[in-house]
């Protein structure tokens, strides 16, 4: 049964499907309640009206909720805190019924936690979070390719996937882990939200990974660091896309640069070194990656080595 049919069927079971319209004048009883309410004293002084602040890309920060609603906030998302109770959650793991897993990284506080979350989702990884302007000394692993069947139409065969580079991810960095069907289900949810115009709930993943596309000797290597000052032109003052770091337990925007790669065999430790001047802090080794024998499979992002690297 399609979602819409199911919704129509639930809608038909509504015990009160016709409420009296707001255009009809208030009844005597309704007037009486209004008068009684207005006779209630107001707490003084009234607080200033709080508007929900917006992150770039229209993702609303959920600061407007107060009191009981905020206390009740928990739900299906497991927030993993990096430290004590007052520390904002560094990342959250959301498990879907279909078996897919969504990992949302809010800040660079807990690389081991992210590794563990990936491990539990079936992906071995090395996650390194570095200070701004630092990178790993390369090479510290043998670059390789995973196989990934993307959700694009007409693509029935898994394609080699080398990873991707990112900068200034809008909202939390989200990793969707699942096989083709699980990712399809997660994708369908997001499409549902978009169809309803509910962009706040449309959590497009930053990248997706299928554990079955990785061989047992392969490791996902991820390194990330805050975007260094001067790396990008700062947004004009007053623009909504300012280079800010906001941490909250529910939503966050991290401005980071980083890369995700697939390694095969032993992965050495990441030795932090300063990135060369003018270069992205995360960079390919001298001479660039050698992927000449493969085709790249994109997932809505341009993949592969940048020209000139």
């Amino acid at each position: 049964m399609r979602s819409n049919d199911l919704k129509a069927r639930v809608a038909a079971s509504n015990p009160v499907d016709r409420e009296r319209p707001a255009s009809q004048p208030l009844s005597a009883a309704e007037e009486e309640l209004l008068d009684a309410l207005l006779a209630e004293p107001l707490p003084a002084p009234p607080a200033a009206t709080r508007q929900p602040s917006r992150l770039r890309g229209g993702r609303p920060m959920r600061l407007a909720l107060g009191g009981a609603a905020a206390l009740a906030a928990a739900g299906a998302v497991l927030f993993v805190s990096a430290g004590g109770d007052n520390t904002p959650a560094a990342f959250a793991v959301e498990r879907e019924d279909g078996g897919g897993v969504r990992i949302q990284i809010y800040n660079l506080g807990d690389p081991e936690g992210v590794e563990q979350a990936l491990e539990e989702a079936g992906v071995r990884s090395q996650v390194t979070f570095l200070p701004a302007g630092m990178t790993c000394r390369e090479p510290h692993y043998q670059p390789s390719m995973a196989l990934l069947r993307t959700l694009e139409p007409n693509q029935s065969q898994p394609q080699p996937w080398a990873g991707f580079d990112y900068e200034s991810i809008d909202g939390p960095l989200t990793i969707a882990v699942g096989d083709y069907q699980q990712r399809q289900e997660m994708d369908e949810e997001i499409r549902d939200a978009v169809r309803q115009g509910d962009y706040a709930a449309a959590d497009w993943p930053s990248f997706v990974i299928d554990p079955s596309g990785l061989r047992p000797d392969q490791t996902l290597v991820m390194s990330s660091s805050p975007t260094p000052a001067g790396y990008r032109q700062p947004a004009p003052s007053g623009a909504s896309s300012g280079r800010v770091e906001i941490h909250s337990t529910e939503s966050a925007q991290i401005d980071t640069v980083g890369q995700v790669r697939v390694a095969e065999g032993e992965v050495g430790p990441c030795e932090p070194v300063a990135a060369a001047a003018g270069q992205a802090p995360v960079r390919a080794p001298e001479g660039g990656w050698d992927f000449s024998a493969h085709e790249y499979a994109g997932w809505g992002f341009g993949l592969g080595p940048k020209s000139g690297e």
Partner: protein, 189 residues
């Protein structure tokens, strides 16, 4: 402007805003409450409480149609407390209780979808509620999130899960019936 005048002006602006809020959303909140409790008195109490909280915390009530899920959220918590046995009649709801039938009448006469109702009944209350918020109140997952006090992403995820579970519950019932029918067929000589 003296501070007395200032307060009088604030008060008048607050009253004006509240009158609009009340007129725009009263019937919706009443309908929400009547849909969720068979007890008209509980429904009237939940409505009175929702608007009392709105009056006291007017600056916190979001503007426009976002006020609707906010009010549903307060009504929902009031109804939940009633179910926990903290029953007491709201002092402001006296007249409203008698008037409820006129405001939000339960529709009748239509054939009930018993299979759906039984499948809904077997769902987890949270799953059931988000399906109803979506289908009955026509809220988006983000608005339902405000009612339930969860994040927008968690609400979307829950809605998706609830739909899947409802489909499953409907199918289960179907296959149970099929099983029963085939058993009967076998047992009959």
């Amino acid at each position: 402007m003296t501070s007395d005048n200032r307060n009088a002006l604030d008060r008048r602006l607050a009253e004006e805003r509240f009158r609009k809020l009340y007129a725009a959303h009263l019937r919706e909140v009443l309908a929400y409450a009547v849909r969720r409790t068979a007890d008209a008195e509980d429904a009237a109490d939940a409505v009175a409480e929702a608007f009392l909280v709105a009056w006291r915390r007017l600056p916190d009530v979001p503007p426009g149609d976002e006020a609707r899920p906010w009010l549903y959220g307060v009504a929902r918590r009031t109804l939940a407390n009633q179910r926990r046995g903290e029953q007491r009649r709201h002092r402001l709801a006296d007249r409203l209780r008698d008037d409820l039938a006129a405001v939000a009448a339960r529709s009748s006469g239509e054939e009930r979808d018993e299979r759906l109702e039984s499948a809904l009944d077997r769902l987890d209350p949270d799953d059931r509620e988000i399906l109803r918020l979506s289908a009955w109140e026509e809220l988006t997952p983000s608005q339902a999130a405000r009612v339930l006090g969860i994040s927008a992403i968690a609400a979307r995820s829950r809605l998706h899960r609830a739909r899947r579970r409802l489909r499953r519950a409907l199918a289960e019932r179907h296959s149970d019936l099929a099983k029963k029918t085939s058993l009967q067929l076998k047992e009959e000589p």
